[in-house]
Structure formats: C-alpha cells, structure tokens
Symmetry: C2
Subunit: 169 residues, 2 copies
DNA sequence: CCCAATTATTTTAGGCTTAAAATAATTTGA
DNA sequence: TCAAATTATTTTAAGCCTAAAATAATTGGG
C-alpha cells in the first residue's frame, strides 16, 4: 500500500469519509474571533470612558434613529434580543434618566420608548467617539478591502438567513 | 448660493466637519449582524438537538484539541472569557459528567481539566453536526468568496489587535 | 355583540458574563 | 531563608440573556 490516506474504494468514499467542512468552520471561527475582539474592546472603552454598557448604548442608538420613539416589540426585533430582556434594560435606562416611556394612546398594551433630551445629548457625545474607535479598529484595511468585506458580509448574511429560514419554515 | 452641502472655506473643513466614518460603522454593524445571526442559530440548534449551551460546547471543543487537558487559566485565555466565568461553567460540566478535574501535581493551585470518555464521545457527535450546520450557513458563498473573506477577516483581526494594543500599552 | 385568537409586555427560573476583591500556593530576590 | 510579588482560582455583586409561562389589551370572525 503506497498511500494510507486514500480510501480503497472510491465508490464508498462519500459514505466512509463524510464531506470535509473544516474550511467553513475556520471561516466561522475567524468571523467570531473578529466580532468578539472588537465587541470586547468597544465594551471596555464604553465602560472606561462613559461608564455605560454596550446593551444600553445599543438601545440608545436605536432610539436616536427614530425621533418618534418605538415600542418594546419593535426594539426587540431591531436589536435581535428577547422581549423579556428589554423590560429590565429599559427599566434601568428610565431610572438613569436616559429614556422615558409612555403608554401608547392607540394601544394600551404597548409602550412608546423615547430618548430624553439629556439622554439624546449624552448619546451623541458617545456616538461620535464610538464612530472614531470603529474607524481606528478597521484602519488597517484599505478602502477597497473595506468595500470587498462589506460585499462578502452582505452575501454571508443572506446565506445565513436562507439556512435559518430553511430550518424554521 | 448654489450648493449648501459644500463648506464655504475648504481650509476649515477638517475642523468644522469631522471626518466621516459612517462606512466603517456600517461595516462593523454588518460584521456584528452576521456574527449574532449565526451564533444565535448555532445556539438554537445545540439546545434543540443536543440540549447543550454554546459555552459548554465551546469549552469541550477546546478540551478536545488538547488530549492532555488544560488549566482553567489556559482555557480562559483560549476562550477569551474571564477566569471567574469558568469556575461555574466547569462546575456544571463536571456535575453533568462531561469533564473531570484533578489538581496539578506540579502546582497545587492549578487544576487540570479533561474530557471524560463519555464527554468526548458525546462531543464528537455534536461536533460533526455542528460542522455540517456551519457549512450549510456559509453555503451561499463560492470557494473563492470564502477564501477572500478568510483573508479579509485575517486582516481585520490584525488591524483590531493593533488598535487594541495601541490603547492598552 | 362576544369570545377565541393574537399581540404586547412582564415575570420567572436558570444560565452566562464581567470586574474586583479574596484566598491560597508558588516564585523570586535580597 | 523568608517576605514580597506573582499566579491560579474562587467568590461576590451586578447586569445581561433566554425560553416559557403568565397577564393584559386588542382584533377578528361568526
């Protein structure tokens, strides 16, 4: 036998040696590493420089985009977190004076969440810094590379969504 | 005035309108969306099909790569989580019989963690499924696109590390 | 009209996560 | 040698997160 790596019978190869997906696994682990690395650094800077957590910052970022406010359900969809999770997060941000909530006039089950003027102005300061951090973190990529990465991630997002819907439906 | 978008004095532009980093921000948000989307789906399938959480799976994955076991400190570095976090995670995996710990003979402060035979064989079944899920999720990308994405993420990782070290040191 | 289904939110139970302080063992340098 | 510094781990306090069940309001079909 000259090469022990090659199965004896090519016909049975697919059965005996399942397809190798190690490259996709490496790709996923690298994507996850990038995300974890950057997210951790953003968390650290938000805490050190503004004494704010990332979930609170994210919630305020969503509200800043919608001047008329949003319901908790809308927020939970946009932030991709569970509904129950938002209850306590919103509570804390109300307590700290960053946001306010009022019961919807057209649907008394729903609450409309809004930034307070103080919350909005504080958020804008943080957001400007945050944007600069992100630019710094991606600064090692050329404009062209950033554009390519953007396109490939768009495709990845689509591909992932298809795989997810394929299971759920 | 024909165009209100252009500052009157080009000299002062850099001061009055800070650099625009919205593209980098969009890039980061897209990266984060991909990561969150895929991670959420992996969590869901691990729970539904194997009744295991992602942190437990990740811990076992690290141990599977090192047959001689690891200390908690090594694990915490590899998994990029805090030391204190591992204490309870390891406790639960010991309780469920997936891993075992013994005090190091050369350093009585340290513990060596290892997969049990049952834990190892259970992990291998899960890992094979997990690998197939990831392949499915990235299935919408060609080989070429996967290779490009891999390269761009490697560069992103480097760029992020530089930005992080630049602050810490 | 009215009740069943739906929708919005909260509660609950359990797990994950961190930073910081505490505990315990080892190493190092005078 | 031996005390100070370092290293490994645990504990603590607080927050984040989820799924599932519960509560409360609205909507739609008969």
């Amino acid at each position: 036998m000259s090469n022990l790596q090659i199965p004896l019978d090519a016909e049975t190869k697919a059965i005996e040696t399942p397809e190798d997906h190690r490259d996709e696994l490496r790709l996923w682990l690298r994507l996850l590493t990038c995300s974890t690395l950057i997210e951790g650094e953003v968390r650290r800077r938000l805490r050190d420089q503004f004494d704010v957590t990332l979930p609170r910052f994210d919630l305020m970022a969503q509200l800043e985009k919608t001047p008329d406010g949003m319901t908790l359900s809308d927020l939970s969809k946009r932030m991709m977190v569970s509904n129950g999770n938002l209850t306590s997060l919103v509570d804390r941000l109300v307590t700290s004076g960053h946001i306010e909530r009022r019961v919807s006039e057209i649907d008394r089950r729903a609450q409309i969440i809004n930034l307070t003027p103080a919350g909005r102005s504080e958020f804008r300061v943080m957001a400007a810094e945050h944007e600069a951090w992100i630019a710094e973190i991606f600064g090692g990529l050329t404009q062209r590379e950033q554009k390519d990465l953007m396109r490939l991630l768009a495709k990845t997002k689509l591909s992932a969504r298809n795989a997810i819907i394929g299971v759920a439906q």
